[in-house]
Subunit: 292 residues, 2 copies
């Protein structure tokens, strides 16, 4: 069975390979800068592992997995812009616009949104046209106004006004801002492996729980961690008056929520006989993050 | 034979239909705002007409044509942002970020980049998977760092420094910033009509000449037109020290260039027996713009 580090090494190699620096160099350098910042590669790892788990060859999922990491980098670049969260550091390095300027950073994000699916089409023709179209549909849905962007919009709007139903709004933000990309990774991996509709439903449920657990753990770390550990400026959500799990329920309840969502992940794995060292590692990693 | 106005009416109706306003409303309103601003709809018209001209049913090209108008709107929204060209008016109305704020405008542009191809996939299944993938490839190429974004990057960079070979740089900007979307429209229309590779080559050449003619005419109008006629603030390129055809060669030579490129368009139409009232109208329209 594969382990996290085997996948991460492979993904890092492929990301570098897929991202050339051509003319006009600045835009390609800017795209590559954020995509190749060292990271946990959670989303592409999930994509490869879902593919393997459902009986597929994880090598078939590499272009899709890398494309999802590019999409994730796109959301980071634009979220960090001065007109959004205005962050200067990401993964311990200056954010994209701090290095390349706001204009190039905006365009680099734009470019990644179509570069990523281009990587899939160029490198996954062996999957066949119908399957590629299914992957495209999943990608467009998760990347757009029905997916991660919906989450970001409601997140921004929560800064300026208290929503009528904060719990519902928070669920909405977490589902779309974070869980949607987890689900995209898991679902596309499963689709590549020809998973059944039933299996797709299971893995989507798993992605939803894991995504929420991860996002709540992020809310917690924003309060209790340090710049050195996280590589980004912390405490900003609180300062901006953002709606987060900790602002709504406090630290202790947030930790309970993480534990509860991760328990659900284990239950799903047990119920459907999901046998995966990698998902074990990811769940344990989230637990450790918040000291559970 | 179809005329411009028949197509425009149809496109406007379909754009409205394709763009719902769902939760979170602000993002969908922002997307729809710029896409449905009244315009000449040059790109979608070209797509429909190319399809008709090569023996296809132009109704088959409607989703693709509308998607290309959405992509065009995306480039306008982001180009107008304060960190780019910082424009307050577009088509006589306040620009997107002036109405919705910089954050939502940035996200609306992002959302359109994946919403547009989603519209194609949802509404053009009758074209078959292989043809849809070809259209996706054309779309990604034109929308990204090898297409319109490459043009925008070099355009921005030309503000800050004089390139070694200004003529070559200017050609590059015009080709990518403007002609690439014209070519996308014409090529996808032709692909939907099952045009041959030879025909695709011809129509690409036509789109290149028409695109350059249109962009040079825009450079000219930036100098000689008025806010009332154009619906946007003029003279900004000159102020910013941007590389334009008029800044490089002066007004008279720019007018000659437009005439010359349009002559080439006519030559291509004659050579390949392209019989189209609509392309006649478009060429005549560009001529009139610059008083030729």
């Amino acid at each position: 069975m594969m382990k996290m580090n085997d996948y991460i090494e492979l993904i890092d190699k492929k990301l570098d390979e897929y991202m050339p620096v051509e003319y006009p160099e600045n835009i390609f350098k800017s795209m590559k800068y954020t995509v190749t910042l060292p990271g946990k590669r959670l989303r592409p790892v999930m994509c490869l592992e879902a593919c393997r788990m459902f009986g597929g060859d994880f090598e078939d999922a590499i272009p899709t997995a890398c494309a999802i990491e590019m999409l994730h980098a796109q959301t980071l670049i634009h979220d960090d812009l001065p007109c959004m969260d205005n962050d200067d550091f990401r993964r311990g390095k200056p954010t994209n616009h701090k290095v390349f300027g706001d204009a190039i950073a905006t365009l680099a994000g734009d470019a990644l949104l179509t570069f990523a699916p281009q990587i899939i089409l160029k490198n996954s023709r062996n999957l066949g046209a119908e399957k590629l179209l299914k992957i495209m549909e999943e990608y467009f849905h998760a990347a757009g106004a029905y997916g991660v962007i919906a989450g970001q919009v409601v997140d921004i709007e929560s800064e300026h006004s208290t929503p009528e139903n904060p719990q519902k709004t928070l669920d909405y933000i977490h589902t779309h801002k974070t869980a949607d990309l987890f689900k995209l990774a898991l679902r596309t991996g499963a689709i590549i492996a020809d998973a059944t509709d039933e299996q797709l439903k299971e893995i989507t449920e798993f992605g939803q729980c894991l995504g929420v657990a991860f996002q709540v753990s992020d809310d917690i770390l924003d309060e209790i961690s340090t710049f050195e550990e996280m590589g980004k400026t912390l405490g900003k959500d609180k300062e901006a008056g953002k709606l987060t799990y900790t602002s709504l329920y406090g630290l202790e309840d947030a930790k309970c929520k993480v534990a509860c969502m991760l328990k659900k992940c284990y239950d799903i794995m047990e119920k459907y006989n999901i046998d995966s060292l990698v998902f074990d590692e990811i769940i344990t990693g989230i637990k450790k993050r918040v000291g559970n």
